[in-house]
Amino acid sequence: MASGFRTHDQAGPVRTFFAWLVGIIYFAPVFWIVLTAFKTRADALAIPPKLVFAPTLDNFRAVFFQTSTTGEVTGSGVWLYFANSAFIAGSSVLLALIIGTLAAYAFSRYPLKGNDTYLFVILSTRMLPPIVVIIPIFLVFRLTGLSGSYIGIILLYTGFNLPFSIWMMKSFFDDLNPEVEDSARMDGSGDWSVFGRIALPQVKAGLAATSVFALILTWNEFIFALLLTGPETRTVPVAIASTIGGEIGVDWGKLSAMVSLFLIPVFIVTFALQNQLLRGVTFGTVRK
């Protein structure tokens, strides 16, 4: 290691200061949203903005319950949207991860003639902005009756997550030492056993990183969900969007409360996989 590089010793005060500064800048919008979720309408719209205020849970109440004109309080149905989001994002990420990992291993270990061309073609499906493909997909969905169904939107998201999963997992498999797998073959393992017992356990960090990134993308996806889900399969981003507007303008408090709740699952998953994730995103940057 060249001198002048800090290695494993603690960062100095200057570096710590800048790390905090950048962290705070990145986190500020999230913090503001969570803060707004606990504000009354007047506090939320106050100028200059208030950092100190009397917190209220009214916004969260408004998310979960609605009061009809007759004063009757009923559930708002928001649970359904959260369940939909979790089910749709969870299934499509899982599917994309299974298919993508198998495909990535095949691309890495059993390259075809024109392997790179196939990989490019697979990635090229992600080069178009969603808005460009939305009309043909909408027509296809209407024609096949997939519109508004779980299976339709899950398949679509799986298809969208696949290129990313394949490319990302392939880079992890490419970095493995192929002699380790040869060694397992010599030790009596067949192809599936080599994949499952030897290759896959070595890319756990990659699986974690890929699934978190795919999950965040899918969880936040809006435009396809807006056009291709029905009332029964609606996801949270669409529900959030529908709270914007109305006769009283944007209800910032309710919107923020909903967004805050919406962030929780992704936070939990990311924290749970944090250790694996850190290794995953730095993988390949340092040669062993």
Partner: protein
């Protein structure tokens, strides 16, 4: 023969890695496959163990054609250059992996692991992850994992290349001991002629996808079939001198006259050990341009005309020699060898 290759060809796209390899390894031999990098050593081993299928030719194991035999059924084990330990398993699990499908009870597996661990002195490391081991210990685990199935033939692909020099010396002794104690056939691929000549009882020299010579270390050192083999066997490397003038009366090297006439198409090969400081009449004088002290001996390079020659000096001569000295030298023994197509010093 335990293991035979006959006219093996292997191509990877446009690369012709093996160009008709013939190899016969007798039972119980410590057989070295010596060749420079990318000569085809690894490919040859991979064809033998079944990780690659040859395009042409026959692989014969224990008297039976084995071209398409499944990898597991061949009775072979291989030690890879990178050791190829399973990084997600600890040492015990690494050693147990080859026994997974053997149908042995866990008690018997434990017993075998204990025995192998004791032979290789890694008992205290069984619970460790492989990345916590030193290079030498990783090598031992790799050996243990290869031996635990009790293979009849052990293939070794440059097993010492990734170790430091001191450890390499120790492991050479270790391999010799294992070979003697277990009595199995070993085929050992290496680019290092020292490893080949010190350990093996037979050497096959491979270059550019072909076996260019086979024989005992002594045969290949004292009577190499051509200049290329002479270059690959022996340390420090042989001096190859183009012949300036051949006549029936003798051979003129440009700086020295040899009495024995040289056949057409040959070069003159002089082992550094056969070039000594003249006590009486010298054959020629050379200016010292480089000295490499190796303790009790020094390898000295002298310049004479256009040629640079290596010689080995002993004792007082070795201690005294300085760069720029004029050394009177005598050629005690020279070989005329057919110039190989790729002879390049």
């Amino acid at each position: 023969m335990t293991l035979s290759l006959s006219n093996i060809h292997k191509r990877y796209g446009g690369l012709h890695a093996l160009k008709g390899v013939h190899l016969d390894v007798p039972e119980g031999a410590f057989y070295a496959l010596l060749g420079p990098s990318s000569a085809g050593k690894t490919t040859a081993l991979r064809v033998i163990c079944g990780l690659e299928t040859p395009d042409e030719g026959a692989v014969t194991l224990f008297g039976q054609r084995a071209n398409d035999a499944p990898i597991q059924g061949r009775g072979l084990a291989m030690i890879f250059q990178s050791f190829a330990l399973y990084p997600h398993l600890n040492v015990r699990e690494n050693l147990a992996y080859p026994l997974r499908r053997s149908g042995l009870s866990s008690g018997e597996i434990d017993k075998k692991i204990g025995r192998v661990a004791e032979t290789l002195n890694i008992q205290h490391r069984l619970g460790n992850r492989t990345d916590q081991l030193s290079g030498g210990e990783q090598q031992r685990v790799a050996i243990g994992r290869a031996l635990i199935r009790e293979p009849q033939v052990l293939l070794l692909d440059e097993p010492l290349t990734n170790l430091d020099a001191k450890l390499r010396d120790a492991m050479r002794v270790e391999f010799k001991r294992l070979h003697r104690e277990l009595g199995i056939t070993m085929l050992y691929a290496t680019p290092d002629q020292l490893e080949a000549t010190t350990m093996a009882d037979q050497i096959a020299v491979i270059d550019d996808g072909r076996i260019i010579a086979t024989g005992t270390p002594q045969d290949l050192y004292h009577a190499p079939p051509d200049a290329r083999v002479a270059q690959l066997v022996g340390s420090p490397p042989v001096n190859l001198v183009p012949i300036q003038d051949r006549s029936t009366a003798g051979t003129w090297l440009g700086f020295a006259q040899l009495a024995i006439p040289a056949p057409e198409g040959t070069v003159c090969a002089i082992r550094p050990h056969d070039l000594t400081v003249a006590t009486g009449e010298a054959d020629f004088e050379g200016a010292v341009v480089l000295t490499e002290a190796l303790g009790d001996v020094s390898v000295v390079t002298v310049q004479v005309g256009d040629a640079q020659l290596r010689t080995v000096l002993y004792g007082a001569d070795a201690a005294r020699v300085r760069i720029g000295d004029q050394l009177p030298l005598k050629i005690n023994h020279a070989m005329y060898l057919p110039a190989a197509q790729c002879a390049q010093v």
